[in-house]
Amino acid sequence: MSSDVELDSLVKRALAREPAAVARAISVAEDRRASLEPVAEELLRKLSRGGHPASARRVGITGPPGVGKSSLTSRLVQRYRELGRTVGVLAVDPSSPRSGGALLGDRARLELDPDDAGSFVRSMASGGQLGGLARAAGAAVEVLCAVYDVVLIETTGVGQSETDVEHVADSVLLVIQPASGDVLSFIKAGILEIPDVLAVNKADLGSVAERAFSDLQAALVVSAEASGGSPPPVLLTSATTRAGVDELVRVLDERYERLVSEGKLEQLRVAKSAAWAYRQFRERYGERGVERAGGKDQLVATLTQAIANGENFLESMRRAAVREP
């Protein structure tokens, strides 16, 4: 993967949605060897130039373990494919703190057609980061956005600082299950402010699901009144019966289209991307690195501008570091 010719051919094959090529591109982006960094940057640049990253819809899917996120993701993929859209999925699982290894089990719950090049699923370990997203996840999302119409990013856990998914997604979908006590604890932890859309999954459980649904609606109204906004939409879904899935896609589409028509999407993406790049920068170069780059505010401003100018976040991060006095 050294020559430009090789890179060009990889980009071409990836943009033609050849699974092995898309996978290879993500692997390059994931690679931690310093020698490959310029290659990864160049690759992202070429991909975004050849592809259509701006129009890809990015949906973050998060929620506590066991609520059926993967099964719901599977249904979303199915629905998007029915609508004729291509889908890339990034499923992030936690790494083992003991060994650094990980069991990536989401694929087991996804019903995929191995012959369909219009859908693609990549599992990734969180790499021991507290946030729900792997270090390389940002780059992987950029690869997927260049190739597919819709990009779903699935992360486990919500609470603590595991809400990184909001930085790489246009919309964050929070999935919870009935009768789990989730609603109450989310209200306490202030988590209900993060999602743009909520789904109470396992609607097939019947009355418990409906009760959780109305509890949640009431809580969201209260918290929206307090902050002066309007409450995010809540849906009852079931991965088993497929109930609510079509509507969920509709609601996500509506949100996206509103962002576009109000001219907010670009701004939102730049801000999120800059925040993500800032976090990665700080992790990589430390607080001292941030200071050398002029402090947090200055750094975020620099990153925001670089990203607004069309640099991908790897580039923007490197440039910000290079610019240090």
Binding site: P19, A20, R32, S99, G101, L103, L104, G105, A125
Partner: protein, 656 residues
């Protein structure tokens, strides 16, 4: 001398290739003194596929006999009088169907259903946990089970409609307490469902009396004696307290046994002869908790399929204990033994506490769906393997006393010491199937299928409609296909993500260092895809490899059982793995590995493939010759060593 007790029913779990070949084997076995039959079905029959279905490729006639329709079953029992036979059928997801075919064949022979004796295993819960031949979601599966029970209690009253199997739980690593607890939890789930159908107390008590168990017995045979006494006691109590069964006879704990296969070794395989004999003691010594039926594995099962001679040796082992020894002349040997009593109490108490934990979660079905039981089993198995790896648990010839003279039984590496399934069996079976379909009255078969679908939708008992379908010439794949349309298919939790495993042996410190070095060299954590292609559901090995690989620092993608070669290749492509590991225990390793490699090639994925399974020496060479990077067999019990091999394989592939 007191009159001897009658011996238990002696069987051998057998069947392979074709109905005709299996029929010959059965008649031979009966001539040698076997007193019952135990039918092993191939995986397509167990999972409801016809022999010509793409998923059946390489599996037809492999782990048992293929039964595609009533013609096959007639041939299987040709010249065997079903009115006098006692037949055990290891069949679960498709149990109602095989029972229907059996009734159909018996009637053709002129036997009355009321006279039929035998067993359908019909325990779906343990299929989700261990054995893997489930098809439908739990609720629909449980309904089929209950349909079969209700039908037989009324129409085939001597039949054991369900053999609740703790056997496979032990094979999956269960402790004695877990074995008892989860089997009883399953029984409760079944009996509660029966009760919910609204039958009266007298029928409920009768049903309770027809439930039997299929138990495992390992080499710790003293503990096994105690386990079975604990089992019997809890069963009696459950009948009296939860189901109000007054008649003591109906509360008797009835069980059959296959002794442990898990502990049989590939190294110094002749030692297994002795293991098998000792293991049988655990289920025969005490008259009060003695097995009703016994089948013994063969000494060479860790090498491949046993030959008729190997099975004969197992039958002789039973006959010597029953007819030659004085065991059956005495009453219970342990009555009054404080030692046995105390251990039995302990097991009963711990098992009951676990039953209560399962009930508190909503019962066995909920605890299967949530992954709770599976995770407990995976953790126990990890502890068992760790003990063997560290030497804390001795396995003679494997981790101790490993030096050996050359075995005369294993000349030529043992290639001659196993049964080879006739390579033409699959093609022959497909031909028979096609001819059968052509000869039947197509519209009658279609009508019968329509009736079956309707019965499924309406919630009617499915056995009568299945018997009609059997007689109308419906095939196994069509029967299951119709029900798949109504019920859907199911994927069970893999249990590996939540399992808590014990601390690792020292060997892993070194291994982790190697994994970290590898990561630095290749730029990413080494990523392993663990794949189980084909219909084989024995996932214990794959699960342990996945867990240990994670703990050694690998990133592991594991999709569970029954994935197609195409799906494995696509997962390997999307996931950007460094190595693909296939686990295949059905014997179909040559075909399936070839297919996976071809699919990888098609997608342009060039990563090393390793294979693990029950793989004879000659096949091992063939696999290596076909470009497989490593082959692992039961001899490779050190998982750390297997993982070291994977590190090497990835390093070498990267260096190229």
């Amino acid at each position: 001398m007191a009159a001897k007790d009658p011996p238990w029913i002696m069987r051998t779990y057998s069947g392979h290739s074709t109905p005709r070949a299996s029929n010959a084997l059965y008649r031979e076995n009966l001539k040698r003194g076997q007193t019952g039959l135990s039918v092993a079905f191939d995986l397509p029959t167990q999972t409801g596929y016809d022999a010509d279905h793409p998923l059946s490729r390489g599996e037809v006639g492999r782990t048992g006999v293929p039964i595609g329709h009533i013609g096959d079953l007639s041939e299987l029992f040709a010249e065997i009088d079903l009115a006098r036979m006692n037949t055990s059928m290891t069949i679960n997801a498709t149990a109602a169907w095989l029972l229907a075919l059996y009734v159909g064949v018996a009637e053709k022979q002129g036997a009355q259903p009321k006279s039929l004796r035998g067993t359908t295993q019909n325990d779906i819960i343990k299929e989700y946990l261990s054995r893997g031949t489930y098809v439908f979601p739990p609720a629909a599966s449980l309904r089929l089970t209950v349909d079969t029970i209700l039908y037989t209690v009324e129409h085939v009253p001597e039949w054991n409609p369900i053999n609740i199997s703790s056997y496979h739980l032990q094979e999956a690593g269960a402790t004695p307490e877990q074995e008892v607890a989860y089997a009883l939890s399953t029984a409760i789930a079944v009996l509660d469902s029966v009760r919910e159908r609204g039958i009266d107390q007298q029928h409920l008590a009768q049903t309770f009396g027809r439930l039997s168990f299929f138990v495992n017995a390992g080499i710790r045979f003293v503990e096994e004696v105690c386990k079975l006494r604990a089992f019997a006691r809890l069963w009696d109590r459950l009948g009296a307290e939860r189901y109000g069964v007054r008649d003591e006879k109906l509360r008797r704990f009835r069980y059959g046994v296959q002794v442990n296969s898990l502990g049989l070794t590939e190294a110094q395989p002749e030692n297994n002869v002795v293991r098998i004999a000792f293991e049988m003691l655990g289920v025969t010594l005490g008259k009060n908790a003695r097995a009703r039926a016994i089948q013994l594995p063969a000494w060479n099962e860790a090498l491949g399929l046993p030959r008729p001679w190997d099975q004969q040796l197992s039958l002789r082992t039973q006959q010597i204990l029953a007819y030659e020894s004085d065991l059956l002349e005495y009453p219970d040997l342990f009555d009054g033994s404080k030692v046995v009593e105390r251990r039995s109490d302990e097991i009963a108490e711990a098992a009951w506490a676990e039953v209560e934990r399962v009930l508190a979660q909503g019962g066995a079905v909920s605890a299967v769906e949530s992954g709770y039981i599976k995770e407990r089993l995976v953790a126990s198995n990890a502890a068992r393997i760790a003990a063997i790896e560290s030497g804390a648990a001795v396995v003679v010839g494997v981790n101790r006393f490993t030096e050996s003279s050359e075995s005369p039984l294993m000349s030529g590496g043992g290639a001659e010491s196993i049964l080879r399934v006739d390579a033409r069996a699959e093609a022959e079976q497909i031909e028979r199937l096609v001819a059968f379909r052509k000869a039947r009255d197509a519209s009658e078969a279609e009508r019968a299928l329509e009736r079956l679908r309707l019965a499924a939708e309406r919630g009617e008992n499915l056995v009568p409609a299945s018997i009609t379908a059997a007689k109308a010439g419906v095939t196994t794949g069509e029967w299951a296909g119709a029900l798949r349309q109504v019920f859907g298919e199911y994927r069970a939790p893999t249990g590996v993500t939540g399992a808590r495993v014990p601390e690792l042996p020292m060997a892993y410190d070194q291994l982790r260092k190697h994994v970290d070095e590898l990561e630095r060299a290749i730029g990413r954590r080494p990523k392993l895809l663990v794949g189980k292609p084909g219909l084989d559901g024995h996932s214990n090995g794959a699960e342990q490899i996945a867990l240990r690989a994670r703990d050694a620092g690998f990133e592991v993608v594991y999709e569970g059982i029954r994935v197609t070669p195409k799906e494995i290749a696509r997962a390997a492509a999307d996931e950007g793995v460094h190595v693909v590991g296939l686990s295949i225990l059905s014997g179909a390793h040559l075909e399936l590995t070839r297919e996976v490699k071809a699919e990888l090639e098609k997608l342009g994925v060039h990563v090393p493939v390793v294979v693990g399974g029950i793989i004879p020496e000659s096949d091992r060479k063939e696999l290596l010759g076909a470009g497989v990077a490593r082959v692992f067999t039961p001899k490779d019990f050190q998982i750390a060593a297997i993982l070291e091999n994977l590190v090497d394989v990835v390093r070498q592939a990267h260096a190229r």
